[in-house]
């Protein structure tokens, strides 16, 4: 017994070791370096020796604009996640339970297609589609000649469109996996017990697919909150996120410590939200 245990432990170590080593090296180390950086009074690349300080965190609390930007970023993340859920979940449901065989493969290809192109290229293509006189505008005018000029570029909806397009595959794929795992006999059992389609979805299918919904939401919410490229290119003067302010600290003002401090405030906010939602999510999944 003890020998088997030890062998097991060895196997687990061998199997998980490389992944955790990799994660430690690539995530934990740079992140701790940035955390340290956020307490320095000047950029680590300046020749003078740095002094430890809390002033960058104080600046975040002191300046209402950065809190405002954080709120807007969180709101943008929530809107994008919700849109992805509303659009992606029905698609995943159809892929898992209705479409079969070759068609499913073809549909999957279309879902992952956006991943094959660079995110920046995708965003610029959206700029071409959405600008006045752009592709969408021309298409509308072909169908409805007298329609008013479409002017979506440099607006909040343009940012949401770009982000939803980028992140939708995550939602479809995670929801698909958990919907696919629901045994058809469970659905048949529910039906044989008299559940109508509405009740079947509400009380059986949706709760059982919740792990996928949550995983997809987390995968989308976190990067959408930190987005800076899409808001700048598609939002113009109407795109304002904390991510853009963070980027500016690194590339324009060269105030790395302040940028790092803003990043960690954002990380803290995202973690707090996840922590607050965790008990709710666990409770919903407990009954399964």
């Amino acid at each position: 017994m003890a020998v088997a245990d030890r062998r097991n432990r060895g196997a687990i170590l061998a199997l998980t070791g490389p992944a955790y080593l990799w994660l430690t090296a690539t995530i934990f180390l740079p992140l701790s370096a940035m955390l340290y950086c956020s307490f320095l009074d000047k950029s680590p690349l300046v020749p003078q020796p740095p002094v430890l300080t809390l002033k960058h965190y104080a600046a975040f609390i002191d300046k209402a604009v950065y809190q405002q930007l954080m709120l807007w970023s969180l709101e943008l993340g929530a809107i994008v996640t919700l849109c992805c859920l509303v659009i992606g979940y029905p698609a995943a449901l159809a892929l898992a339970k209705v479409i079969k065989g070759r068609w499913r493969e073809a549909m999957f290809l279309m879902v992952v297609l956006p991943f094959w192109s660079n995110a920046l290229v995708r965003t610029f293509s959206w700029a071409m589609v959405l600008r006045p006189g752009g592709i969408a505008d021309q298409a509308i005018h072909v169908v409805v000649p007298g329609a008013p000029a479409l002017n979506v570029l440099y607006s909040y909806p343009a940012v949401v469109i770009g982000l939803v397009h980028s992140y939708l595959p995550y939602m479809i794929l995670t929801c698909y996996i958990s919907l696919q795992a629901i045994d058809d006999s469970v659905i048949e059992a529910a039906r044989s017990l008299g559940a109508r389609s509405g009740a079947l979805f509400r009380r059986v299918v949706f709760p059982m697919s919740l792990p996928g919904v949550l995983a997809g939401s987390a995968l989308i919410f976190v990067p959408a909150v930190g987005s800076f490229m899409e808001p700048r290119i598609l939002g113009g003067a109407k795109g304002a996120t904390l991510g853009m302010a963070i980027e500016e600290q690194f590339t324009v003002t060269a105030n790395w410590p302040f940028g790092a401090a803003l990043s960690f405030m954002m990380l803290a906010a995202v973690l707090l939200i996840c922590l607050a939602l965790y008990p709710v999510a666990r409770k919903r999944m407990e009954g399964l």
Binding site: K63, L69, R131, A237, A254, N255
Partner: protein, 363 residues
């Protein structure tokens, strides 16, 4: 001469490599230290990387030029700090040359190696912004203005005041660059303050917030500016003089350009030699070529360039050259304030202010 140099140094290099044996393999940087090549750090597409020019330069000197690029001046400084010995020539403007020389990131120029040095406009060449302790740390290369470009089909008569940006008639027809320092500078000019170090930042902020109903969008690159202007997204914008010449010349856009009577931003760029440059003499040769009228005239007429710091180069331009006309208005040049070095605190304060202004624009 330079070919001879390069041969000697290569021989010396080979001898040294033999002496240290495998040690060379452990220090690949030494391999770069040969006279046949220089590395230039500059903005992309900003003169030094014109293909025809590099071919001509290589033909004349045997020196191959490779490039690395930066997207902002702090990035340029960061690259110099973190890669000592990687660069030979680096572009530093009037606001950043002092920072670079103060930190010992660039070397004093041996002006005797720059044959065209005497032809440079003295007010730029001898500016304290490019020198320190009587030594020159940057060879003035080109200069330009950041002033106001307008659509000549929409404005008649031409505007002459910075207030054109705030004129309610131009609501949603105005653009400015998404840049904290440019924004604050124009806020200061419009409120009658020192552009580099405005005393009353609150006044600047209030003035900039007043732009909100005017702003159609913010621009960030010349290419974007041309597209936006062409599609009629805005009619009047803060813009760079060299870019205005290009927009008019190459894209035939109806661009007018003026320095407001209240003042405008002036800047000039200096080419500097990085300290620990692997090929300092090659760097000097390249800088000399960059201020040569032959290079400048071709650059300015074929591609479009800011004004040269070399008076002879400007005089060699055709009289009807758009860039020459834009940069020849002596009264306008007198109204310019030149960009000076800012402290880290000032840069952060301007960045915070601009972030607040942009957040208000986004509401």
């Amino acid at each position: 001469m330079s070919k001879l140099n390069s041969r000697i140094s290569r021989r010396r290099f080979v001898a040294g490599a033999g002496a240290v044996g495998l040690g060379v393999l452990a220090a690949p940087r030494i391999v770069r230290a040969q006279d046949g090549k220089i590395t230039v750090l500059n903005w992309q597409g900003y003169g030094t990387d014109e293909k025809w020019a590099l071919e001509a330069f290589k033909k004349a000197t045997g020196i191959e030029v490779v490039h690395d690029y930066f997207n902002s001046e702090p990035e340029m400084i960061t690259k110099l700090r973190t890669n000592p010995g990687a660069y030979d020539v680096v572009l530093t403007n009037s606001a950043w040359n002092g920072v670079a020389s103060g930190e010992g990131l660039v070397d004093a120029i041996d002006t005797s190696q720059i044959s065209h040095f005497g032809d440079l406009n003295p007010s730029l060449r001898d500016s304290s912004l490019l020198s320190k302790d009587g030594k020159v740390y940057g060879v003035s290369w080109v200069w330009g203005m950041t002033a106001i470009a307008y659509n000549t089909e929409k404005f008649n008569p031409a505007p002459d005041s910075v207030e054109v940006l705030w004129d309610p008639k131009n609501a949603k027809r105005v653009s400015v660059r998404d840049d904290a320092i440019e924004g604050v500078s124009y806020g200061a000019i419009a409120t009658g303050q020192d552009m580099n170090h405005p005393k009353d930042l609150d006044k600047v902020k209030a003035k900039l917030l007043g732009l909100k109903p005017q702003i159609a969008t913010l621009w960030s690159s010349e290419d974007e500016w041309n597209k936006l202007f062409q599609s009629g997204t805005f009619d009047v914008s803060v813009y760079w003089s060299g870019s205005a010449a290009r927009s008019k010349n190459n894209f035939k856009l109806p661009v007018g350009y003026m320095v407001p009577k209240e003042g405008g931003i002036g800047w000039f760029d200096g080419l500097a030699v990085a300290s620990n440059a692997p090929n300092s003499s090659g760097a000097h040769e390249f800088i000399d070529y960059m201020i040569d009228p032959t290079f400048y005239v071709e650059w300015a007429t074929k591609i479009g360039a800011p004004a040269s710091a070399n008076t002879k180069a400007n005089e060699a331009l055709p009289a009807d050259d758009v860039g020459r006309q834009i940069h020849a208005d002596q009264a306008a040049i007198k109204r310019l304030q030149f960009m000076a070095p800012l402290s880290d605190e000032e840069r952060q304060a301007y960045s915070d202010l601009w972030t607040e202004v942009k957040a208000e624009f986004a509401k």
